[in-house]
Amino acid sequence: MISLFVNLGFLVYFKYANFFIESFVDSFSLFGIALEISTLEIILPVGISFYTFQTLSYTIDLYRKKIEPAKDVISFFAFVSFFPQLVAGPIERASHLLPQFYIKHKFDYSLVKSGLLLMAYGLFKKMVVADRAAVYVNSVYNNVEDHNGLSYLYATVLFAFQIYCDFSGYSDIAIGASRTMGFDLMKNFDAPYFSKSLTEFWRRWHISLSTWFRDYVYIPLGGSRKGKYRTYFNLFLVFLVSGLWHGAAWTFIIWGALHGIVLVFEKAIYKSKEPFFKRLGLSNENLSNRMFFGTLTFFIVCLGWVFFRANGLDDALTVTQGIFTDISVNEIFAIENYTIGFNINEFKILMLSILLMLTFEAYYKRRSVINRLNKQSVIARWSFYLIVVMYIAIFGIYGETTTKEFIYFQF
């Protein structure tokens, strides 16, 4: 209990204290009472949400007798502060990561090679796609009033790729760096934008957080064992908390709530969906069906990203309204909508890079690219590695004036 209170206490103090103070003052002001409570000047420790959850999982698993206590204090602190994943995950479980500190790791060439390749892929996603997309996204979202519906739509879709490439790029670098040292970290992303439902999306997006909430919030609340309505409530609550975990702001709470509502809806219609499809002669694996539900899911996810990215509730509503009511066909051919923040060639490189990434991930789902690569001749393999290195070196966004932190460092 002490551990839970201390861990959650730090998290609440650093991350939510000011939000609660502001909300408290705002609530009173609704009744005409002006409270004069100043907010605290707090510097948020980097990655606090990640290592707090990791430590909590240790405490809870220990309490549930799922794991043995750490054998020594050095291993425990190494588990909590393991540098590759310290600031943005994956949120590891003690049962998986802690035992790896007890064994001696030897240099393994194949692990180093595959780790470096994964790091290169992560750098490609972060430096080439995410940071390039950020130029467009920031130009639109930081000056919402200066743009039109189509640019809102493009910026939102690009943000979907930006946040995916930023976050999964970090995870790939963390997993790859750990692998070079002989450590195995859990998979955090599994091509989420190929999902055909939001339920599937959450099985593929930020897997370490989703499973954490499943194991330590959803199941303790009763999961799906206490009836239909309680299940819906539990599901909704988990996503509301997930939104709050991302940040102390109403936009994050709305983002979480939106996902919660759609997930509850999917769960509610899941049983009736199958017979309905069968009656229409449609199969879940039918290509057009997959494409339709894949696109619908991506659209819903993008709608959520509007609230996640917007600088405030007003901006989020302006963008949402613009996407639904302010798009004309003529604008599709106007080059101005493709050159916001950068020139058309940068836009082309961005599109090409996203296409390469999606092709790679679609392919990767079916078979291991690394295994396939290993079967090629040394000339083919080395040419591939060189092209990857040079592509990142030339088309990456980096340098003193353009250094960008990972988005999830703030959570």
Binding site: L386, V389, F395
Partner: protein, 465 residues
């Protein structure tokens, strides 16, 4: 396994070296180095230094007077520390018979350079082959943590679209470029001089009493590059019009001169020889740099000095067919076009006795007008030629201004008498025009106050680029 890793890293480095040439920014030194690459491994005389060097020492004169393959490696604001890896590269690839290093206060100072000065060093670094000395010089000027910026690919990757596929650096029509030598046939006016004096007045005033340790050390390093190969080395200082007005500059030059002489090397400060070689204001392009007319005087003196003091074996049977001074010496035997019988009218109204046209090494042609040494004043010139459609598509934007009839027309305002050169007893005015075209058709040249005196028309030239 270790071998594999090393091999792969070497491959990556090689890829970077390869791509670096595409990521260089468009600077004059690119042209200098590209021009050198075509000729490397047979140089006899090399000149190093800053813009003072590239505007003062004309390889054409050393070629003509000494019969030596010569090249000027001067780069804008180039410090000796920046030039050091370049000197090593040139010494390593050529069997130099003599080297000339232009030296003054700025060139020996490399600590705490301002942002502009540091950026100017990049054009030399970007055009110097990778070496340990280059890494050391670069990290001294830019700090070790910026070492990756040594690769233009990594430094300029953000401008990939503008840089990759850009055209080679082309000197402007009025630039006199030859094997690293760069200047213009122009002189400065009194307003420029006033502005310059105001700028100089703001500079540091304290008179140095001795060279700093880093300053003498860099001179020692330069010496050792040439000494290790037994290459004779001369230190020189290009003349500056403001020398007499700048006590600090004078003091520095005395210290530098004393130091290099104490090390056993010849040192010529051309600021002290202005009267002897007849340098006047009209010989300066600006207060710090000579124009080709002044460069001819200094280069002639230096080549004479080398001839008298160093026994350097001449090369035999070298053809310098793009060298105007060699052409003059050879009576324009190898020029592309020659017009010597121009008639009384042109001679009296335009003071032109002969016109020669020959192809230069820098994307074009040179027109040489031989004039009598009488008091005839400025002359207008009009040059007109046509190029085929293929060349128009490829080059026109870069090289020409198209007239209404689709031809290229160049109007030169004056053949200015005060900028003409005196060589081997005759007076010449020179104009270069860029024309990297395969076919030049219906070429016409007119001179005279109204540009109506025909020198030639309907001339066609075929060239291979």
């Amino acid at each position: 396994m270790v071998l594999k890793v090393v091999l792969f890293l070497l491959l990556v480095l090689n890829m970077l070296f390869y791509s670096d040439s595409y990521f260089r920014e468009d600077k004059i030194f690119n042209l200098t180095k590209d021009s050198y690459r075509d000729r490397q491994s047979d140089l006899d005389l090399a000149i190093f230094g800053s813009s003072h060097a590239y505007s003062t020492y004309d390889p054409r004169i050393f070629e003509t007077e000494l019969n030596l393959h010569s090249f000027n490696f001067g780069g804008s604001a180039q410090r000796l520390l920046t030039g050091l890896p370049l000197m090593e590269e040139v010494v390593g690839k050529n069997e130099l018979k003599i080297a000339v290093v232009d030296i003054f206060d700025m060139s020996v100072q490399h600590d705490s350079l301002g942002e502009n000065s540091r950026m100017l060093q990049l054009q030399t670094f970007d055009n110097t082959e990778f070496s340990f000395t280059k890494v050391k010089s670069f990290s001294t000027i830019f700090s070790f943590k910026k070492l990756l910026d040594i690769f233009p690919t990594l430094r300029n990757h953000g401008s990939w679209f503008e840089l990759v596929g850009k055209s080679p650096h082309i000197p402007k029509d009025d630039a006199d470029f030859y094997k690293g030598y760069v200047s213009k046939f122009e002189s400065f006016d009194s307003q420029t001089w006033e502005r310059f004096l105001t700028k100089v007045a703001k500079r540091k005033k304290e008179i140095p009493k001795a060279l700093a340790k880093s300053e003498s050390k860099i001179i020692d390093k330069v010496i050792s590059v040439f000494q290790s190969k037994g290459i004779p080395l001369i230190f020189v200082n290009a003349p500056s019009y403001n020398y007499q007005h700048d006590k600090r500059y004078q003091a520095y030059q005395h210290l530098i001169g004393d130091y290099v002489v104490s090390q056993g090397f010849d040192y010529i400060d051309y600021n002290l020889l202005t009267d002897k070689i007849g340098l006047k204001k009209a010989d300066f392009k600006d207060p710090n740099h000579l124009n080709p007319k002044g460069a001819l005087k200094v280069s002639a003196h230096l080549s004479d000095f080398i001839k008298r003091n160093y026994s350097i074996p001449n090369r035999e049977n070298i053809e310098f067919d793009q060298n105007r001074y060699d052409l003059i010496s050879e009576n324009f035997k190898n020029s592309t076009l020659k017009f010597e019988d121009l008639g009384e009218q042109i001679s009296s109204k335009a003071n032109i006795n002969a016109v020669y046209v020959f192809k230069t090494s820098s994307y074009g042609y040179e027109l040489v007008f031989r004039q009598s040494d009488s008091d005839v004043n400025n002359v207008h010139v009009k040059l007109k030629f046509g190029i085929d459609d293929e060349d128009k598509k490829k080059h026109l934007e870069m090289f020409g201004e198209q007239s209404m009839d689709g031809n290229i027309v160049k109007h030169y305002p004056f053949l200015r008498r005060d900028q003409s050169i005196l060589y081997k007893g005759s007076r010449y005015s020179i104009y270069q025009f860029r024309a990297p075209y395969d076919n030049i058709m219906d070429m016409e040249l007119y001179v005279g106050p109204k540009r109506d005196l025909k020198i030639f028309d309907s001339i066609n030239i075929k060239q291979k680029n």
